[in-house]
Amino acid sequence: MNRKAGSRLEKVLASGRFAVTAEIGPPRGPNADVIVEKAKILKGVADAYNITDNQTAVVRMSSIAASRILLDQGLEPLMQMVCRDRNRIAMQSDLLGASALGLKNILCLSGDHQKASAGGKLKGHPGAKNVFDIDSIQLISVVRGMRDEAVQDSGDSIDAPTPFFIGAAWTPLAPPREFRVHRLAKKVAAGADFIQTQAIYDVAAFAEAMARAVDMGLTEKTAILGGIILPRSAGMLKYMNRSVPGVVVPDAMIQRMEKSKDPAKEGRQIFLELIEGVRAIPGIKGVHLQAIEAEHLLPDLIRDAGLLPRPAVD
């Protein structure tokens, strides 16, 4: 079968098997061992691992470098690329470099504004000049042009196409809710092969959004992976509900965490229930799993969810 990029993630999805992705944040330093250590813990539990691109506008090891380090450990990276820090010249140049280094998955994002600075926990660089030369949907289209037509945004050719499996994000529950599925459609039309969603806690509301995506035929054209973040405390859920746009946490879930004598265990139970709930939604092709600052918990959780071993692909 003709593949667009030949990545493991693409093959798993193409074979109709339920995909699992996880996330690895590059270190705030030059030490490759940090990624090697995380790779040891997470090897074999996911089909691809998102490598974030200076998320929350905090300087970290570049996602291209970290992705390659991960690849050398035998894990498949999913390089994130945001539009905040590079113009179309730098981005296309980095895409050529990333392809030359063997990276095959990319997630196209607009990116957190430089004011984010890790939610104020770090100084960050709020005085930086941002770029936003192009937006995330335009980036999808640029990557697709480089892959399918071997052309740059300007129309100039490149020597050979860059085989990328192209991903994008979807926040189905942010306002204006009725438009969110249309924006998803724009991403799919621009060339998004797969989608990772914002963290889902309200499975029913997400199922409604998915039903619309199914009706519009979007799930035939792109593979949607539901995002699930391990709840670690009632406080965290309240914070996410209040402060993270597009994240809706049902009151009952917050209360359940509040009442629990062992919130860590309760959170793991909720996580498993969320996976099961999301998995049952028509049109869903996989899950994107995160345990923020607790990646070591993922292998057991993914096993308990019945998602191991990950399928072998040729």
């Binding site: 539009c83 905040r84 179309r88 607009s110 990116g111 504004h113 004011k115 984010a116 941002n130 936003f132 030369d133 192009i134 937006d135 995330s136 949907i137 335009q138 289209s141 640029v142 945004d153 994000a169 979807w170 926040t171 942010a174 306002p175 204006p176 438009f179 249309h182 924006r183 459609a185 724009k186 039309a189 621009a190 914002q198 746009p245 597009g246």
Partner: protein
Amino acid sequence: MIIAEWKPISEIVEKLKGHKKVLVAGCATCVAECAAGGEREVETLAPLLRMAMEKEGNSIEVVTATLERQCEPEFVEPLAAKLIGVDAVVSLACGIGIQCLAEIFEDTPVYPGVNTTSLAIREEPGVWGVRCEACGACVLGETFGLCPVARCAKSLMNGPCGGTRENGACEVNAEVPCIWLKIFERAQARGKVDELLRFQGTKNWSNSRHGGQKRVVREDLRT
């Protein structure tokens, strides 16, 4: 209008060290409207500067003038008479006005008394909000009259990003609406949401500062 904001007096004082007679020059147009550099602000700043310099042990004489328009040579040139004996100017005009003064009175140092920040509108008394960034390729026709370049924190052409807050505010600045939500609402009110489904390709920024120093030449008006 062009919006400017006062610099800290300490920053101006630093520049004025060693000077003896200073002109504080205002402008009665935009910066007067935004209460940064009109006559009132000039007359407020002048005594404050005098006192601050006194405190530094560097007494200065301060004279004032507020021009009709500091960005046009014909309004600036008559200031020559006032400049006799003046060895420095603090201008409270926008960056254009400050440079116009500095170009005409080449030998006199002209210091900015304000920071020019934006092209904005008065939203309510005492509140100004950005409206334009002079991007050189206006898309207001595609965005229902609301500018995504200046008013979306990420200048998205195919918004909104996932950051629109539940109450409709932008994720980057809780004090302002997500402009893409507003664009959607306007499109919806006009029954034209389908226009927002059209993919907007990469923008050509070259008719603004990104194309090199901007200069507009109108042959029909040249003499």
